[in-house]
Subunit: 210 residues, 2 copies
Amino acid sequence: MAREGILIVLSGFSGAGKGSIVKELIERYEQYALSISATTRAPRPGEEEGIAYFFKSREAFQQMIAEDALVEYAQYVDNYYGTPRAYVEEQLAKGKDVLLEIEIQGARKIKEQFPEAVLLFVTTKDIQTLEQRLAGRGTETKEVITQRLKRAVEESEGMEEYDYLVINDQLDTCVKQIHSIIESEHLKTRRNQAFVGKVREELKRFSKGE
Amino acid sequence: MAREGILIVLSGFSGAGKGSIVKELIERYEQYALSISATTRAPRPGEEEGIAYFFKSREAFQQMIAEDALVEYAQYVDNYYGTPRAYVEEQLAKGKDVLLEIEIQGARKIKEQFPEAVLLFVTTKDIQTLEQRLAGRGTETKEVITQRLKRAVEESEGMEEYDYLVINDQLDTCVKQIHSIIESEHLKTRRNQAFVGKVREELKRFSKGE
């Protein structure tokens, strides 16, 4: 069966390990392409143009919005973040599975425009584990951690809107599960209409004894 | 996450190898339970009661229908075939994934009653391969084969109603793909509402710094 590329949205609690998952998927399997977001926020030390983000001026970003050059965008704390349309469409057309690491607002806009997109929510196995990861090397104050957990409360409100829920307990297992979900999605009947049509054509021919 | 059992419908062209697939799934993975159909047709040589089928008189079968003891049933060439409800419900309650090897009419009834059932359609990679398998050891006449292909034309009409399309080219690969589909289905958010609820509860507690 010829494969159509799948648009994959990866969201989840910060601290659940989305970044590591995306990195592993890209490194292990050729079929994935990572979409890089555009943003108006200033680069942090070490962040390279076109790797961390495409850094844009406010004017340039607003022009992209006006030209419908973004499949989704959102504003957080005075800065814009968005997904450039051209890369997504090119990669999907090549049959690549395109990964978007975005938040719930973006995920909703993607699902509206690409109903066949697959939405994944990454979580730790429990909140105690999340708290431990957020606490990191013990350099964060209790207030900062509580702040991040409050953010997670908001993020958890959209969980039901995701197709799949993946627990990142063991990174390797989690990456394999996500890959397995995507491989299974490729076998969905509605992603293989061309194959169904071909089988029917052949059946008609053979059943006439031709 | 505590797992709910999944009801799995396996249909497909006769000759596509459903029987072998079911056998392998049961042998390889403990999580599957095979539902045995009840039928009014006479046992063929070698067919054992409770293994091939539960053999029933016409009266006994009609009583099962009257008592709603079948989750689905259908009539083919003067005989009834049906799926006993008790076994399916018991196994699902235990968390087992229950396999039903049934045809399209049955599959439709299952989907109505169990909207969370997963419907799989098994096919060969093309119809030439199906014809070769139907021809078998060369003992069948061309007419018999053409007859079976005509049956396949009818079967192909319902293909879009199935969730997944699985090609049985290499039995081992096909069995792994089906298992992978079911494992992925277990990660669907809507099958894990209890986990979502638990995460939200914990988040509320932790974010209050308790």
